[in-house]
Symmetry: C2
Subunit: 281 residues, 2 copies
């Protein structure tokens, strides 16, 4: 999917919501456990109920891998089921030496290899350029690089300061040599608005994938105010607050309601913060 | 496997060789492609031919994932086939927020979840403490944390200097708060002996997993001289130079010969550098 198409979808739906399909077999409603593939049965209903209110889906690969080969089958069925209008993110946080990253790229981008065809994959920056570049060899596919994550441990290394810049800023600057805003996005944790403002100054044009709104507690309005650019530039992820909004037979209805609630809030912020000429920073 | 048992195996076999099972279906001998599971058929023969000369096996997970669900089945069969005497490493370079790292830990350590039961997993440090700690909740299982990797891109961030210390040193120091030498190892690329000497000064007691010897060109004697401690403290990985030593029907014989050649060299270095009272640094 291109940058232009993604923004068109955002404008059309008045939503920049990404639904995190972090489907844990231990947490899904009991009545689904009798299905042949409970994880896919759950995802299918979640997708049906939320697709009008979101522009993206992001399965975190750990939830599928933890089930072994069976989990990969559920993942494959899920990705095939998501409409092409939606931007798909393999939240895998991979990264290895060049030829091995090339294999991870095939895993998530080349359906003739693994059966999977995502639009993008999250990548960890620690190993540097040659761990990231192989993902960019696939046309129209995106790298979403970890910059500043939303967990408490992010302070351990991401905020270490060298040459008056925290490590995450080095990552943002260096990686712009590898690809532009048409092929690369960044993961930016939503826990602090001041960080988002600072980061927007370094990468004005890139999309930011923002976890940490919803169950993790970030404010949707603050993130939108400080993170938005003139092409929206935000994909805001909510996982648990949507997919586990209910846990009975009506779980999908509850999930749809929560996705719609977020979409309606987003429609206001798109109007308020996206079309202005003067940016708030 | 405990630190003590691993050193006993090293002493018994006079080897600290780890065989990297980076099995690429595009590179294995043609006659195996008619097998029901060519990747497992290849691995089985490689294991049979090398097990007397090595103490560890390390499948890089990318090679299996790239084949989707089928690849996970090959991986599972491979891990079950490796004798319990050998230390197994899931070279996965994972790392995510706490609850998600917990799922990756289940993936590689809990056979009731994924079907896999490795002794250890490689973890990327970028996301900090809570991305690493969930792996340490599994008794007798190890984290092998990326410190200084062997690829060219390692210079992009790992050598960035803050407070007069490169990032990889911050990783080595901080992570010692999370676990000791009985539960944690470090990945240290073997391309430069001076780095190894420097790192050994920071982590005197830990095992180091050293890739980059063999096809990537590091010197086995230099690594042994500067990296060894009194419990050996080294696992030296060779992948392509062993598993692709031959490409005919005798590929396993060739692999065994190359593993034996390395083991014989290692026996000399164990005698020369491991038992001395005065360390060379």
């Amino acid at each position: 999917m291109t940058h232009k198409t993604l923004f068109e979808q955002i404008s059309l739906k008045k939503s920049y919501l990404c639904v995190g399909l972090d489907t844990d077999i231990r947490k899904i409603p009991a009545h689904l456990l009798k299905e042949a593939d409970p994880v896919f049965a759950f995802n299918k209903q979640i997708i049906d109920a939320t697709l009008d209110f979101c522009v993206s889906y992001k399965p975190n690969i750990a939830f599928y891998e933890a089930m072994g080969a069976k989990g990969w089958e559920s993942l494959q069925k899920t990705i095939e089921y998501i409409p092409k209008s939606h931007f798909t993110i393999a939240d895998a946080k991979r990264g290895d030496i060049g030829n091995t990253s090339g294999l991870y790229a095939r895993t998530f981008f080349d359906p003739t290899s693994s059966g999977l065809s995502f639009d993008s994959v999250t990548v960890a920056p620690y190993m540097g350029s040659d761990s990231v570049l192989p993902f960019l060899e696939f046309e129209n596919k995106w790298v979403i690089l970890l910059a500043l994550t939303s967990n408490s441990g992010s302070a351990d290394f991401q905020r270490i300061t060298a040459d008056d810049k925290p490590l995450f800023e080095h990552v943002l600057i260096k990686s712009q040599e590898w690809a532009g805003a048409d092929r690369m996005m960044y993961v930016v944790g939503a826990t602090q608005a001041k960080d988002l403002k600072y980061i927007r100054g370094i990468v004005p044009d890139h999309f930011l994938l923002v976890p940490g709104v919803g169950a993790q507690g970030g404010s949707l309005e603050e993130v939108s105010k400080y993170g938005m650019n003139k092409s929206c530039g935000l994909l805001i992820n909510a996982s648990r607050s949507i997919i586990y909004a209910g846990n009975g037979t009506d779980f999908a209805i509850k999930a749809g309601e929560e996705a719609q609630r977020m979409q309606q809030e987003m429609a206001v912020y798109l109007d308020k913060y996206c079309n202005q000429i003067e940016r708030p920073f």
